[in-house]
Each structure stands twice: as structure tokens, then as C-alpha cells.
């Protein structure tokens, strides 16, 4: 066979790297990188030992992001169904008992030397599979047309809930609704589904939720006094109201510290209590870098992962909080502009999905940290420590940027018409 006869149908990589460079939109990458730096500073303050590891994952995440941008999204979408099937299979394997347990849940799958969280990949897979499925269809504007997209999401969602990882699972719901909504689904249909979902909450409460998950919700809705009375703990050791800190109580407090911590660990309001205390400790200008009193002492549980915002808020104060929220807003703005500028429906949906997922996850995490939402165990994208979280965040960002790098195959006057 002559070598001249061989010709690839699609180029493996873009022939001109300028497309890729153009795709690396500073409006998106800038805030994302700054958020990552803020996260690294917080980790340096709270857990210096993990900074190197997090930096390593940052480099890997950036490489994955660039790699995702290089490969045309059309090629990616061609492979999305096998990838979706692989994710479902991974989730099934995790539930089947091959997963690794951590924090009372089995979320990790170990394949040889590589360990990963299938639920993190599921977020990427759901966005991509929905974009692939919806892009050329119009039947999602009908009730019947909503069935397949819902099934595509509910199957992995159910598997993730079973792990259990309620927080990650619930992230898929807004992604589904927003992508359908952006693609033109009827608002009244989606509202009807929401109402139905609310109506079925008692059933889900009984059948689907683990006891600790119910406890988190109860702890959020009930005042602290009821929680403590319910558990029968805590009241006896607390200082009487109005008693000021005095040297006389110091050693007593130190003596009781361990058992008090043990009791607090059982306290279902413990996370929110400690995180709000840490945030409040920052004041207007913060206690200073590496001067936070709650950092590095396990005073705030998971302060290097899910509650990393408390470290930042305590050390940089309200000023730092405003900066961080501003960066989050800029990142979402960049993604929204990307979603608005790309012209192909699939690309639009990828960007909208990324916007929804990253925005929702950040909002839920921040709201949880300041006591506005129940504790869900969601990491803060780009800031929390964790390889899977970092990888999936940059992967999702790469998918959103991918559409800018490659010429669309389909042109339409108006999107989803």
C-alpha cells in the first residue's frame, strides 16, 4: 500500500497553533489562575505540606486544559458516548464494592496506580453528553423530548447518590435544567418538573438520604439550642452567658479541650459553627497572612478542602472576601461571554454547562461556609485541595474554551432555532 493513500479524516491537532492561543481567553484564564493562586496561599497558610502536591495538580490541570483545547471539540463529542459509558461503568464499580472508602463514603476508584473519583468525571460527562444530545434537536421543547436528557442525567445522579455523594449529585440537577433552559426548553415544563421534584421530597427523604445527610439538613434548619438538646450534649461545659474570658478559665479550658472537641465533633452544627467563627474572626482587614488563629489547628474541619474559604476570609478579612467574590464573578462573566460569542450550539451548551457547574459549585460552597446553606461536602473550584477537583475544574474550563479554538461546522442565524 502506498503511503500517499493514507490521509486522516480529521487532523489530530490544529494545524495552526494560533487558534489555540486565541482560545486561551484571558477573561476566563486570568480569574481562574488568580483563584488558584489565592487557594495556594490559603493552603500554604493552613497546610504547607500539601502546597507542593496542589501545585503539581495545578500543572497537570493546566496541561489537561490545554490538551482539551487542542483536540477539536467535535472529536471530543464523537467520543462522548463511550466516555459516558465508561463513567457509568466506573460508578457502578464503585458502588459494587471496588471503590475506596473515605469520610464514610465510597467515592474513589483505584485502577493500578491511578486513583480517581468517577463522580468528578461524571460532571464533565454529563455536560458533554447533554451538549452532544441537545445541539441539533428541538424536541426538548416538548415534555416528551425532556425524557432522554433527564435519563442521561438521572442515571449517573442516582449512582452518585448511592455512593453516597449527595453534594456532587445535586450539582448535576442545575446543570441539566440550565442547559435545557438555555437550549430553549419551555420554562413551564421545567417548573412543573421542579414542582414534581419538590412534591417527591418526602419520598426521597425516606428512601434516598443517609442518616448523616438528614442530620446536616436538620442542623441547618434547626437552631443550635435544639440540636444540642436533641443530642443531649454540650450544655454543661459551656461558659455561662456573659462571662468574660479570664485567666482563671484558661487552664480549665485547656484541660477540657480534648473532650470538648470530641463532643463538638459529634455536634452536627460543628462545621457551620466553626466556619462562621473563622470567617468572622477576619474582621474588615483580616488577621494577616499565616496569622489566622483557626488555621493549622484543625479548629475548622476540612479547612484545606471544602472549607478553604474560611482560611482566606480569616486572614484577609472582608476585603479579601470581596476580592475573591469579584474573581468568581469575573470568571463567570468570562464564561458567560464565551457562551455568548461561540456560534455552534454544542459549543454554546458546553460553555453554559461549564458556567452553571462552576458557578453553582462555588456558590453552594461559599454559602455553606458562611452558614447560608447546609454542609454538602463540595469543594470550592480552583481553591480547595484535591487532585480530582482541580483536574475536573480545569477540564471543564478547557471544554468551555475549546469552542473558541475551532471553526464551527454549523452556522445558524439564531441559536437553537
Amino acid at each position: 500500500m502506498s503511503s500517499q493513500a493514507v490521509r486522516p479524516s480529521f487532523p489530530a491537532v490544529p494545524q495552526r497553533w494560533s487558534h489555540v492561543i486565541r482560545a486561551l481567553d484571558p477573561r476566563v484564564l486570568g480569574p481562574a489562575l488568580l483563584l488558584t493562586i489565592v487557594g495556594l496561599l490559603a493552603l500554604w497558610s493552613d497546610r504547607p505540606a500539601v502546597v507542593f502536591s496542589q501545585t503539581k495538580w495545578l500543572v497537570v490541570g493546566l496541561a489537561v486544559c490545554v490538551g482539551t483545547v487542542i483536540v477539536p471539540y467535535r472529536r471530543l463529542l464523537q467520543l462522548i458516548y463511550p466516555f459516558y459509558a465508561f463513567v457509568l461503568l466506573s460508578l457502578v464499580l464503585v458502588i459494587a464494592g471496588l471503590g475506596r472508602e473515605s469520610h464514610h463514603a465510597t467515592r474513589w476508584l483505584q485502577i493500578g496506580p491511578i486513583g480517581f473519583q468517577p463522580s468528578e468525571l461524571a460532571k464533565v460527562a454529563v455536560i458533554a453528553v447533554l451538549a452532544k444530545y441537545i445541539r441539533f434537536r428541538r424536541d426538548h421543547k416538548t415534555v416528551r423530548g425532556l425524557v432522554v436528557p433527564f435519563l442521561l442525567v438521572l442515571v449517573p445522579l442516582a449512582l452518585i447518590v448511592k455512593q453516597p455523594d449527595l453534594g456532587t449529585a445535586l450539582m448535576l440537577v442545575p446543570v441539566l435544567f440550565v442547559m435545557l433552559w438555555a437550549a430553549g426548553a419551555q420554562t413551564r415544563h421545567l417548573v412543573a418538573v421542579v414542582v414534581l421534584g419538590l412534591a417527591s421530597l418526602p419520598l426521597l427523604w425516606t428512601l434516598a438520604l443517609e442518616p448523616y445527610q438528614k442530620g446536616r439538613v436538620r442542623a441547618f434548619t434547626a437552631p443550635l439550642v435544639e440540636v444540642l438538646h436533641e443530642t443531649g450534649e454540650g450544655l454543661g461545659i459551656l461558659d455561662p452567658p456573659g462571662k468574660e474570658a479570664g485567666p482563671g478559665a484558661e487552664s480549665r479550658a485547656a484541660t477540657l479541650l480534648k473532650e470538648e472537641r470530641a463532643r463538638n465533633a459529634r455536634d452536627r452544627r460543628f462545621h457551620v459553627e466553626r466556619s462562621t467563627i473563622a470567617v468572622a474572626a477576619g474582621g474588615m482587614f483580616g488577621l494577616g497572612f499565616r496569622n489566622g488563629v483557626m488555621n493549622g489547628t484543625d479548629a475548622v474541619p476540612e479547612s484545606w478542602t471544602d472549607f478553604v474559604f474560611t482560611v482566606h476570609a480569616e486572614e484577609w478579612g472582608f476585603v479579601g472576601v470581596v476580592v475573591l467574590l469579584g474573581l468568581e464573578g469575573l470568571l463567570l462573566l468570562g464564561l458567560a461571554l464565551t457562551a455568548n460569542e461561540v456560534r455552534e450550539p454544542a459549543a454554546k451548551l458546553l460553555a453554559v454547562g461549564a458556567l452553571t457547574l462552576l458557578g453553582t459549585q462555588a456558590c453552594v460552597n461559599l454559602a455553606m461556609t458562611v452558614g447560608l446553606a447546609p454542609v454538602t461536602g463540595l469543594p470550592l473550584p480552583f481553591l480547595s485541595y484535591g487532585g480530582s477537583s482541580m483536574l475536573s475544574s480545569w477540564l471543564i474550563l478547557g471544554m468551555a474554551l475549546n469552542a473558541r479554538a475551532h471553526k464551527p461546522l454549523v452556522f445558524a442565524e439564531r441559536a437553537f432555532d
Binding site: P240, N264, I277, T297
Partner: protein, 696 residues
């Protein structure tokens, strides 16, 4: 439609982020403000961590068998916060002056009673002189404090801009509040309608009766103590304005502590705090030493950043005052180690109302480590008793060493001056002949080579010496057994200063103290060493060398050093060095052996055995020494003369069993009258020590 929905989606996210920002603003800014009683929100104390220290426990010192030697006694102290103290608790200037006068009257009566107890006029005169001096000193001290009080009073105590508050007590739940007028609000505890009754103001008399409830001291004395403590604390405050509070009364009862804490409304500004005091076994006071409250110099030393270079913790000022500082001996030398490292933490307040605070520890406290000594308690008590049993009631010392490794098993001392005479230098007398013997042997002089000893001899330059007996031609062995001054004086002049110095250093008489932890003095100070001892034979007269040869003249040594020298001989030349901490115990096999001492040790040991066992031995008459199988050497040094009567230092150093030595003991009695010698005065006591030591 897509663009509109996308815009709405982004606006929705922005709204959520703004809500989160508003919540953070509320947490971090709005709810942080002035305290509640100054018009702030009840949440205002939240968000402001209050640092505190966790004071470490001072490490304790133990005997070898685990019996406490210096230990902490849990107790309570009172801290005063000048910004918050109830004005009526502290005394007025007039009250203070009156109490000082009362105290002075009490002391005058006490002194008069003691004076009346004296039997002789001379004793009365001496005591009167001492009392007058003491009284003048106290008068000056008190006048200074009264002046301080008068100067500080307007600033610190009488705050005219803040009228006194009155205490009110709820007639239903007995909750106390302080108000300047009649409380018009409901009781915050029981919620009852206002039904308060006024309480009488607390006084310093209340505090005194409370703090020392059950004590037998007159109430006036207690009040005076409190007043003096208050003034002292004010003086400290003057020097260190940053110290808002510190302990000013220690060792109050647990009941008083609890009561004051429960009635904190009544005794505002006084805070009981756990605070250990230190107790030391009286028999081991000369080893463990003592502690004291920190001075300003201690604060400067302990807060000096240069400590970090030496590997020690740099203390914060607030951590120094509640601690104790080692004042002497082991407590002082090992103070940095014993005091530990304080923990650090912060109080943070819970967000919900009335759920108090949490303590967040940022640095765990590191208690001072316990120290285990090599001192045996029973042996130490015996050593103390024997040291105090000087025939004339004068100074005495007793030391016991473990021959195998040099462990200090007991060190007793008794004297009127309060010093530890086991570690002070005295003229050793004939026990120092061991050094001369080693010098003679190391110089190549044969042991059998004799010297003519006359009872009264004369050196070529005319200086005379005396010996207890006229030994005639005598060799080293017999000279040692009979403690012949004639032999050792002549040999000292013969071998010279360099040989004597070398032998002394081999045996542990050096310019370095053997047991620095005990504050021991060196045998020789560098100055005297260079002037008199080190090798300039031309500057030393033969009589000087002769007197050095018999342990007189410029030769000085402590009881510990003499015991060490004989322990090295008993250990066949092993260079054992005394140590007092078990962690310093060396491996016996690792202790170096001096070849010269090892070569001549058998000869010396045989002679030392002869001192006790041979009829011509200087301690032959002491049966107790033979009973315990001891060997040793007597020593009597002339150290002065009073009314034509010589005063002697009487020593005996010995070890037992003589064939396989285990323990080495020395007893010293200083300045005994003529006729009291080492063998008779100290020999039986050494026998007792050795017998007790061997009864493991």
C-alpha cells in the same frame, strides 16, 4: 432568547454572590464592634479572638527511688485586673497606714517576747542589735510602699470620673448585678420583675476572711498581707504597664478560689487562677535549691530573643509572671528545662447567643520534664543528720558517691551561714596526702624508699614542721597508714609543684567544678593556680611545697572533690566524675582509665586499708570502720587559732567494701577545737554512711 436567558443566568449568579458577600459583611464587620455593656451588639465579641496562654507545669525533681524531692502543690492564686477591680476592695491610704502601724506594733511585741527569752546579756544585746537593724530596714521598706501607694492612688484606684456602682441582688434567684441606680430591668437570670435589694459593699476585710478562711492568723495580719500584696502589684504595674494583670496572692484555698469565682460580680477584677506552688524536701534543699517569683530581670532574660539562638523558647511577658523561676542549685541551673513551654490559644465566641466561647489551641503546652536524681532519700536524710551533728554545733558536710560510676548518692550540709559546705572549699589536711602519694609514685620514687621523720623537723631554710609521731625511716605505705607529716612534707618539697599539680588534676582537683549543676566551686581558681601551683617552682618556697604535700597552705578542696579522688582510687584509676541526674549516668565501660592511677591504685588501696585495719593506722581505733570493711584516710587541718587554741577541720574519707569498693563517703566537720581529729570525729560517721549505703 438564548442571550436573554444567558444574561439572566449570569445575573442570578451575581445576586447569589452578592448575598454571600452581604453575609460575610455581616459576620466580619457589622457584628464586630464595642462590647455589649458599652452599647454594642450582643454578638459584638464574636469575631475577635482573645489570646490566652496555657501555663506549663514545672517539671518535678525526684530522688533515685521516685520519691519527690521538689514537687508542685496544686493551688490557687488571685490575679488582679486593675482596669476592672472593684474600687472598694482595695484599701484607702488611711487604712493602709493604719494596717502598717498595726503590723509594726505586732512585730514589736513579738520581738520583745523573743528578747525576753534570751538567757544572757550578751545574747540579748546581739538579738537587740539584729532586731533594730531589721526594724529599720522594714520601716524604710514600708515607707517606700506608702509613698508608692499615695502616688499611685489617684491614678489607679480612685477614678473620680466613674462613680461607684452598687451591688444589687435579685430577691428570687440571688443573681447579683452592679448598677449605679436601682435596677429597672427584669432579672436576666430568672426573668422576674425588678425586685432587687441593695447589698453592702465588699471590703478588704471580706476578702481577707474569704481568702484565708480557716486560718489561725489574726484578721489584721491577713489584711496587712493583702494590702502589701496590692501595693507590690501596683509597683510591678508601674514598671510594666503592659501587664494588665498578674498574680498577687498565692496559695489561697480552693474554697476561696471557688467562692470568688462564683461571686465574681462581688469581687470584680479579682480572678482566681490555678497556680502551683513549689515544695522541696528540707533534707534535699541543698541539692534541689529553691524557686522564687520572677523579677524584672527574669522577665528581660526570658523574653530576650537571643534565647532562640540557644535553642530555648522566647517567652511572652504574660507567660513569665505566673511562673516560678529557679533561684539556686538544680532549680536554677536547669530552670529553662524545668519551666517547659507555654501553650497558646485563642478564645473564640460562638455566633449563637448565650453559647459561650471555645478555646482554640494554636500551640500545645509542653510541660517541663521531670528530673530524676541519683540521690537516695534515706541516705540523704542520714547525711543531713550526720552533717548537723558536729561536736561543736558548727558547720559539717557529708557526701556519698557510688564508686562504680560517680553517682552522687547523698550530699548533706549543715551550717549557720546556710551555705552548702559539701561544695565549698576548705583546707583538706591529710586526706590530700593522696595527691602527694600519687605525685611521688609518678615521679619515679620507689614506694619503699624511706625518709627520716622526726616528730619535730626543720627544713634547710629553717622552717619547722611537726608530725604526730616520730616515725623514723618511713616508706610511702607506712607514711600513708600513719599519716606521717614528715614523709609527705619532705616528699612534697622534693617532687615539686608540677608533679603535685599533675597528680591533683588526675584525681579531680581542677579549675573546673566537678558538679556544675550543684554550683560547686572549683578546687583552684585560675588565678591562684597560675600564681602558686602551676609549675613556677622558683616562686614557691620549699616550705610551701611541703605544706601542700600535707594538705595545708594554699591547698583547698571541697568534700565532693576529696570523695571523688578517693573514688577514683577505689575504682582502680577509673576517672569517675560525680553526677546528680540519672540521665547523665555514663556507661561504666566507657569511663576512661588513667594509667598512672590504675598502676598505683592497688598500692594506695592497701595503704588505705591499713589506715583502718593496722594497729599503726591513724583510724585503727574506730571499730565501726572495720566492722563495715572500710578503707580510707583521716584528715585534720589546722585552720585557725582562737585564744591560743588551734581550730581543726576534721575529715575522714573512706570507701567500702575495701576489696570490692562500692561506695565512697566523706564527713567533714569544720573548725573543731584542738583535740578533735578526723578519725575520732568523722570516722564513725563515715562508717554509718557506708553501712547505710550498702544496705540497698
Amino acid at each position: 432568547m438564548y442571550e436573554i436567558r444567558l444574561r439572566r443566568l449570569y445575573i442570578a449568579f451575581c445576586v447569589i454572590l452578592c448575598v454571600i458577600g452581604a453575609r460575610a459583611f455581616a459576620l466580619q464587620v457589622l457584628e464586630v464592634g464595642p462590647p455589649e455593656d458599652e452599647g454594642g451588639s450582643w454578638k459584638s465579641r464574636a469575631g475577635r479572638p482573645q489570646p490566652f496562654s496555657v501555663h506549663p507545669r514545672r517539671g518535678e525533681i525526684f530522688y533515685a527511688d521516685g520519691t519527690p524531692m521538689a514537687w508542685n502543690v496544686p493551688g490557687y492564686g488571685l490575679e488582679i485586673e486593675w482596669d476592672a477591680i472593684d474600687d472598694r476592695i482595695v484599701p484607702t491610704v488611711a487604712e493602709f497606714r493604719a494596717s502598717i502601724a498595726r503590723r509594726a506594733r505586732y512585730e514589736a511585741e513579738r520581738d520583745a517576747a523573743r528578747l525576753a527569752e534570751q538567757r544572757t546579756d550578751r545574747a540579748r544585746t546581739n538579738l537587740k542589735t539584729q532586731q533594730d537593724a531589721r526594724r529599720a530596714e522594714l520601716a524604710a521598706w514600708r515607707a517606700e510602699r506608702v509613698d508608692d501607694l499615695g502616688r499611685l492612688w489617684p491614678v489607679q484606684i480612685v477614678r473620680k470620673d466613674k462613680p461607684l456602682a452598687t451591688r444589687w441582688e435579685c430577691t428570687i434567684c440571688a443573681t447579683q448585678v452592679k448598677r449605679r441606680g436601682v435596677p429597672d430591668a427584669d432579672c436576666r437570670e430568672c426573668g422576674a420583675l425588678p425586685s432587687f435589694e441593695e447589698l453592702p459593699p465588699p471590703s478588704i476585710r471580706d476578702l481577707a476572711m474569704l481568702v484565708w478562711a480557716g486560718g489561725d492568723a489574726p484578721i489584721e495580719v491577713l489584711i496587712a498581707r493583702i494590702q502589701e500584696a496590692l501595693v507590690l502589684s501596683m509597683r510591678r504595674l508601674e514598671r510594666h504597664p503592659d501587664w494588665k494583670s498578674h498574680a498577687f496572692l498565692v496559695d489561697i484555698s480552693a474554697i476561696a478560689s471557688e467562692t470568688i469565682e462564683l461571686r465574681h460580680e462581688e469581687f470584680g477584677g479579682l480572678t482566681p487562677m490555678p497556680r502551683s506552688s513549689r515544695r522541696v524536701d528540707p533534707d534535699a534543699r541543698q541539692i534541689a535549691g529553691g524557686t522564687r517569683f520572677p523579677s524584672a530581670d527574669d522577665v528581660r532574660r526570658l523574653t530576650d530573643p537571643a534565647r532562640r539562638d540557644a535553642g530555648w523558647h522566647v517567652f511572652d511577658e504574660r507567660d513569665v509572671l505566673p511562673s516560678l523561676v529557679g533561684n539556686s542549685l538544680l532549680e536554677a541551673v536547669l530552670d529553662d528545662e524545668l519551666r517547659g513551654v507555654p501553650g497558646e490559644g485563642n478564645y473564640v465566641y460562638r455566633r449563637e447567643r448565650n453559647f459561650g466561647r471555645e478555646a482554640i489551641i494554636t500551640r500545645e503546652v509542653a510541660d517541663g520534664p521531670d528530673l530524676h536524681t541519683t540521690i537516695r532519700p534515706e541516705l540523704q536524710r542520714l547525711a543531713m543528720r550526720l552533717a548537723a551533728s558536729s561536736p561543736t554545733g558548727g558547720a559539717g558536710a557529708a557526701v556519698v558517691l557510688d564508686v562504680r560510676d560517680g553517682a552522687l548518692l547523698a550530699m548533706g550540709s549543715a551550717s549557720r551561714d546556710g551555705m552548702n559546705h559539701a561544695r565549698t572549699r576548705i583546707a583538706p589536711g591529710s586526706v590530700y596526702k593522696l595527691v602527694t602519694a600519687i605525685a611521688v609514685l609518678d615521679s619515679g620514687i620507689a614506694p619503699a624508699e624511706t625518709v627520716d621523720c622526726r616528730k619535730k623537723g626543720r627544713f634547710p631554710n629553717g622552717v619547722r614542721y611537726t608530725c604526730a609521731h616520730e616515725h623514723g625511716d618511713v616508706g610511702l605505705h607506712d607514711a600513708f597508714v600513719g599519716s606521717c607529716n614528715g614523709y609527705f612534707a619532705q616528699r612534697g618539697a622534693t617532687v615539686g609543684a608540677q608533679a603535685l599539680t599533675a597528680a591533683a588534676i588526675r584525681l579531680g582537683f581542677d579549675t573546673r567544678p566537678l558538679v556544675p549543676a550543684l554550683g560547686e566551686f572549683a578546687a583552684w581558681e585560675p588565678k591562684s593556680r597560675s600564681k602558686h601551683v602551676l609549675g613556677r617552682d622558683g616562686k614557691l618556697w620549699a616550705p610551701d611545697l611541703a605544706l601542700m604535700g600535707i594538705g595545708q597552705s594554699t591547698v583547698l578542696a571541697s568534700a565532693v572533690q576529696v570523695a571523688t579522688a578517693y573514688a577514683r582510687i577505689a575504682a582502680d584509676g577509673r576517672l569517675v566524675t560525680p553526677f546528680v541526674l540519672q540521665r547523665d549516668r555514663p556507661l561504666v565501660a566507657a569511663i576512661p582509665i588513667d594509667p598512672v592511677l590504675a598502676r598505683w591504685a592497688p598500692l594506695i588501696r592497701e595503704a588505705a586499708r591499713g589506715v583502718v585495719a593496722y594497729p599503726e593506722g591513724s583510724a585503727f581505733k574506730i571499730r565501726e570502720l572495720r566492722d563495715v570493711g572500710a578503707a580510707g584516710k583521716t584528715g585534720t587541718a589546722e585552720v585557725g587559732r582562737v585564744r591560743n587554741e588551734f581550730l581543726n577541720n576534721a575529715l575522714f574519707v573512706g570507701y567500702a567494701p575495701h576489696d570490692t569498693p562500692r561506695y565512697c563517703a566523706i564527713v567533714v566537720y569544720e573548725r573543731l577545737p584542738s583535740g578533735r581529729y578526723g578519725a575520732g570525729a568523722a570516722g564513725p560517721q563515715v562508717a554509718k554512711l557506708l553501712a547505710e549505703a550498702m544496705r540497698e
